[in-house]
Every structure is written in C-alpha cells, then in structure tokens.
C-alpha cells in the first residue's frame, strides 16, 4: 500500500473528534473549576484579612494543592478525560502536570527521578508564563509611559 492510500484509509477509519461536545464539556469543567476557585477566594475574603486583590495568591496556592491531591488520588485524570482543555488551562492543570510527572518518574528514585522530572512538563508552563508576563508588563509600561492607560 502506498503512502497516499494509507493516509486515505487512516482518515476513513479515524473517528472524527466531536468538537462541539468537547468544547461544551471543556467550558463546563473549566467553569466549574473557576467556580470552586471563586468560592475559595470568597472564603479568604470573608474569613481572613484578604481583599479581592490579595486573595488571589492564597486562592491559587489552594487550587494547586487541591489539584495535586486529586491527581495523587487519581481523580484528576477522570476530570481531564471529560473536561480536556477545561481542566488543563486553569492553574489546577499546572498542579496536575507537576504531580503526574513526579508519580511517573518515582521508580527512577527521588532525586534524579522525582526531583529531576517534576518540572519537566510544568517547566514549559513556567517559562512561557514568565515570558508572557514580561511581554505584557513591558507593553503596559510603554502604554502607561505614553499616557494611553493608567496603572
């Protein structure tokens, strides 16, 4: 069988991804994670001295911690199967990426296995997150300097 025929056959057999259904599921799961985050933020605002601005730090930490626990117990995998990008895009996806690679490399030892590979997946998130933040901050600084927007 030549390459073209093989590709045609492969396209015929491969089931078509259900884009609409996947988008709705991602929207709902992502939204639900954000709703939980909102409740956590509200908890910090109501019961501690955090304002809406300062509450974001402990909220992010709590959400990462929860997702790490859920990954450890194997529940996050089930959520990700339903939600797809909806579970990967929020900050909880970061916790999941860290812990899942740590679990995966546990057999290679704690230092070179877990320690060396824990940030393998999360490293790209950190790198591009920091880089995007730098670019956005640079753009905003320039716009503030030009007087287009205020801080």
């Amino acid at each position: 069988m030549d390459e073209k025929k093989y590709q045609q056959l492969q396209q015929q057999i491969t089931p078509k991804p259900k884009y609409v259904k996947n988008c709705i599921a991602a929207f709902l799961v992502g939204g639900l994670i954000c709703l939980v985050g909102q409740f956590v933020a509200l908890f910090y605002i109501s019961f501690f001295d955090f304002t809406e601005r300062t509450a974001s730090n402990p909220t992010v930490a709590t959400m990462i911690f929860i997702s790490m626990l859920l990954t450890g117990f194997g529940y996050y995998k089930k959520i990700a199967q339903v939600g797809g990008a909806g579970s990967a895009v929020p900050i909880t996806g970061f916790g999941n990426a860290m812990i899942s690679s740590a679990i995966e490399h546990k057999s290679e030892g704690y230092v070179l296995g877990v320690g060396g590979n824990m940030f393998k997946l999360a490293g790209s998130v950190i790198l591009y997150g920091v880089f995007s933040a730098f670019v956005v901050a640079l753009v905003k600084t320039i716009l503030v300097g030009l007087g287009v927007v205020s801080w």
């Binding site: 709703l35 509200l42 605002i45 109501s46 001295d49 955090f50 304002t51 809406e52 601005r53 300062t54 509450a55 974001s56 730090n57």
Partner: protein, 133 residues
C-alpha cells in the same frame, strides 16, 4: 434514579440561591452631616448594584458592588465616586472601594451596631483598601 436526576438541579438551585443575597443600599450616619446626599449619589449611579455607607466621626466609608459587566472598570468607578464624595464632604476622610471585602466588613460593622468600635474598625477597613499584592 429519580434522586440522581434531581441532584444536579438541586445543586444548581442552591448555587443560584447563593447569588441572590442582596444587601441593597444602606447608610448609617452617626454625625450631623447629611448622609442622604451620599446615598442618593450611589443610588442614582446605574453601574452600582449594592452599596453600604458608614459615616462616623471624620470618616466616610463606602463599600460598593458594581454590576457584573462593570467589574472590569470597578477601580475607575470607585475612584470617580471617591472624588465626588470628597467634594460633597470636604471635611471627611473618604474611602470608596468596589472590593467585596470592604462591602462585607462595612456591612458586618453596621450589623454589629458596636458604635464604640467604629473608629478603630473603620481605620482598619481603610487600610485594607491600600493593600497591594
């Protein structure tokens, strides 16, 4: 099986019921100045959903909750209203914020009716507004 089908519905209803807690517009004034002016200003502003105003000694604190789509501009709204209230009450230290914490704490303070602690607590609420991450 019927209970299983009903559970998501109950969950959604409970969630939505939580959103309906409305404080409305509330003004508490322990001074001789006219507090109605501040309440009128906030009530007439279409961007504001709820507002709690506490006027005590030389301080005025206004906690606001803006409409959903105005949230993007809530700092600007608070700044604008703060300027207007400062004009209305030039002799007072005015604190206006659209932060939920300020609204909740001011409302809590009013509901406690602990007038002796107003000054101390109001100072604390004002300092919260200045907090940065």
């Amino acid at each position: 099986m019927a209970i299983r089908k009903l559970l998501p519905l109950v969950f959604v209803l409970v969630m939505l019921a939580g959103c309906s807690t409305s404080i409305g517009f509330k003004t508490v004034n322990t001074t001789d100045v006219d507090g109605q002016k501040a309440e009128k200003l906030l009530k007439e502003d279409q961007r504001i959903k709820n507002a709690v105003v506490l006027i005590h000694d030389d301080r005025l604190i206004a906690g606001l909750r803006v409409n959903t789509f105005e949230r993007f501009k809530k700092r600007k709204i608070a700044k604008e209203l703060s300027k207007e209230l400062e004009k209305m009450y030039p002799e007072m230290k005015v604190t206006v914020s659209a932060d939920s914490k300020i609204l909740l704490e001011t409302n809590k303070l009013i509901e406690k009716e602990d007038e002796q602690n107003y000054s101390k607590k109001m100072k604390k609420i004002s300092s919260l507004v200045k907090e940065e991450t």
